[in-house]
Amino acid sequence: MLMTTDMRKTSESVPGQKSTREIYLPPQRSTITGGGNAHIAAKEFSIYYGEFEAVKKVSADILSKYVTAIIGPSGCGKSTFLRAINRMNDLIPSCHTTGALLFDGEDIYGKFTDEVLLRKKVGMVFQKPNPFPKSIFDNIAYGPRLHGVNDKKKLMEIVERSLRKAAIWDEVCDRLDKNALGLSGGQQQRLCVARTLAVEPEVLLLDEPTSALDPKATAKIEDLIQDLRGSYTIMIVTHNMQQASRVSDSTMFFYEGILVEQAPTAQLFTNPKDSITEDYITGRFS
């Protein structure tokens, strides 16, 4: 581990500036070209459910084309923070935000932001699998069709490619016309990953994508994340420390709505700054 820069300092820097950000990358992973920009940046960003402040004044940079893991105990605001990035929280009437959350330097919650366009660029896989009650094919083709692809052959190509990427093609290739709700929970989750990939977003938000999967499927998803790393900016919420350390370049630790620590993954797991972080990752947490 080469560098140990304090996270809080960098979060104040202007997004899009390359400057010192390279230093977060563990050396073995710095091979990605074009990476290292702050794709998403939070500045004193808070999320409220009514009066309740679920995410408290978070400032952080999410680097472009790297994998960022979010860890923390249940109820600490991981999903809330993740869902804020593609404005899924808009669906909850009581939910509102303060501070700024920038995507490519533009305020996600700005007055003139087109949330539909934003969501096309920021895809999400939810904590609970949520396929449409449609055929497997139609599930995957939903996004591409939405964005103007209607050619049957082209759609088929996209469907196959997406399903292969999500490591579920072999299991469903002979029943693409069957209802997706007939799949197992784990299959459904991978289907949802494939469905999101089919839209070809720039950012992939994964909310505990493997919590319903067996080790084999989990490994496949992790492989997928490795494959996508470098072409997508990926954020993954997980309760599995090993997973976080396996797949992510940078890790954020949330506790009771506060971003306690963000650091290169290897550093955070081997040499946490904060004692709470240490307690949590070592399992000494009550």
């Binding site: 593609n86 899924m88 669906l91 539909v116 366009l117 969501r119 096309k120 660029k121 895809g123 999400m124 939810f126 609970k128 949520n130 396929p131 449409f132 009650p133 449609k134 939903y142 996004g143 939405l146 964005h147 069957k178 209802n179 997706a180 709700l181 007939g182 949802c192 469905r195 999101t196 839209v199």
Partner: protein, 448 residues
């Protein structure tokens, strides 16, 4: 609670549940069995030669050669009856004046009873109304009329403290000693030969127009009118209702106005249908002038207003029941709100929306009050599709009421009334069934 009480509770709940289902089924049987039994009698019955004469004359149906030979054979038996009449008329002339007056009155009764049974007597002028052109077309009615011929009904008023009682006097006895006395046993003996009762399948009951306000013929104008009105109402109410439900659930900002609108909608669902009928007359016909007077379109619009609240409510419930996760999934893929509603929410809510639609369709088909002032006429022929904007139509619901209560010969036309009721029940059932099938197919597609 210990396991014993729990089991007893479980069992008694089961018993009560089964009991209530049985009671419901019984009540349904009590209603449906007579409807079906009597209603089928409008189509399957023992018909007489008069029925076939009527079919041939009014609807140009049936083999005329067969009919001619049948008529010839029945006429041979009838000829004797008519001979007896002429004989008696001659005898009347020879009677003493007193006796003559007495028998003339009695003879007139016999004549009219015979007319009812066999149709116009020889020498009668051509009747104006079709109903008097034929004898009894149905065998069971013929038997009733035979009784009328054989027995004179009298009323016993002797005891003024109780209601008068009907009693019967045999005409064979009152004409004893005259040449007409032979007539009664003869008619009784030879009625079958005079009427040729035969098992009849009168499918035309469904497809024929009525002749002389339902004395003969079928109920097609009513069936068609019911379809026009119910489907017309759906054409207006269904899209409007679904759009309103989408607005309420997806777009309306919660607040005073919204909750007012919703409770207004709920209240409307409970308004008596006659009020909608009056409203339809006042608004669609008198104010909007959608038509000069009663018309199918005015009736359909009125029915649409009546069923709209139910459709809105059902659609609202169905839309709200769609899991939030579908919406999230669609939106997260970059779908707009409107597109999400059209491609995900509404398809998933469709079974529920359809259920509301079906219930409403059945109601639109069956309601009488809203169409009394706006669309219904008691007698009429089937109207063309182009006439829906200008002409009223008969409809099952209204004509059942009309035939049972306002028709001048209600008691004679029970079979038509039951036929109409059965037709209405069947139509509503078929509509429901098709929607249930549709619903099941959609649900199956939605599940797996």
């Amino acid at each position: 609670m210990n396991i014993g009480t729990r089991k007893i509770l479980d069992r008694s709940f089961t018993a009560v549940g089964i009991g209530s289902i049985v009671v419901m089924a019984l009540a349904l049987m009590i209603v449906v069995v007579p409807i079906v039994y009597n209603g089928i009698g409008a189509v399957f019955f023992t018909g007489t030669v008069e029925h076939r004469k009527m079919l041939h004359a009014e609807f140009k149906r049936g083999d005329s050669q067969n009919l001619d030979s049948e008529v010839a054979s029945t006429d041979r038996y009838r000829a004797k009856v008519y001979d007896m009449l002429t004989g008696f008329e001659a005898e009347l002339e020879t009677m003493a004046p007193e006796k003559k007056t007495e028998y003339t009155a009695k003879y007139a009764q016999v004549q009219s009873a015979l007319r009812a049974l066999l149709g116009p007597l020889p020498g009668d002028p051509e009747p104006m109304l079709t109903r008097f052109k034929y004898g009894q077309t149905r065998w069971e009615k013929a038997e009733e009329k035979l009784h009328d011929l054989l027995y004179e009904s009298k009323w016993d008023n002797s005891n003024s403290s109780v209601m008068s009682k009907e009693f019967f006097v045999s005409r064979a006895i009152s004409f004893e000693g005259t040449s007409l006395a032979r007539l009664f046993p003869y008619v009784k003996e030879n009625l079958e030969n005079m009427l040729h009762p035969e098992f009849t399948f009168y499918w035309g009951f469904i497809t024929d127009s009525s002749v002389d306000s339902h004395f003969f013929g079928g109920i097609w104008p009513e069936i068609q009118g019911t379809f026009f009105l119910a489907i017309g109402a759906m054409l207006f109410a269904f899209p409007l209702g679904v759009v309103a439900a989408v607005y309420f659930t997806e777009y309306a900002k919660p607040g005073f106005l919204n909750s007012m609108l919703r409770s207004a909608n709920s209240t409307l669902a409970g308004v008596p249908s006659i009020v909608f009928g009056m409203f339809g007359l006042a608004f669609f016909i008198n104010t909007m002038k959608v038509s000069e007077s009663k018309s199918v379109i005015a009736g359909a619009l009125t029915l649409a207003i009546m069923i709209l609240p139910t459709i809105i409510r059902a659609a609202e419930e169905a839309i709200l029941a769609v899991p939030k996760t579908y919406r999230e999934a669609s939106l997260s893929l970059g779908s707009s709100k409107w597109n999400t509603i059209a491609t995900v929410i509404l398809p998933a809510a469709l079974p529920g929306i359809l259920t509301g639609g079906v219930i409403s369709l059945g109601r639109a088909a069956g309601e009488t009050a809203p169409i009394i002032f706006t669309a219904a006429v008691s007698v009429g022929s089937a109207i063309g599709l182009a006439d829906v904007f200008s002409s009223p139509t008969p409809a099952l619901s209204w004509n059942i009421y009309n035939l049972a209560s306002e028709h001048e010969a209600a008691a004679q036309l029970r079979h038509v009334q039951y036929g109409m009721v059965l037709a209405l029940v069947t139509i509503v059932l078929l509509l429901n069934l098709s929607a249930i099938v549709l619903r099941a197919r959609i649900s199956k597609k939605l599940k797996c």
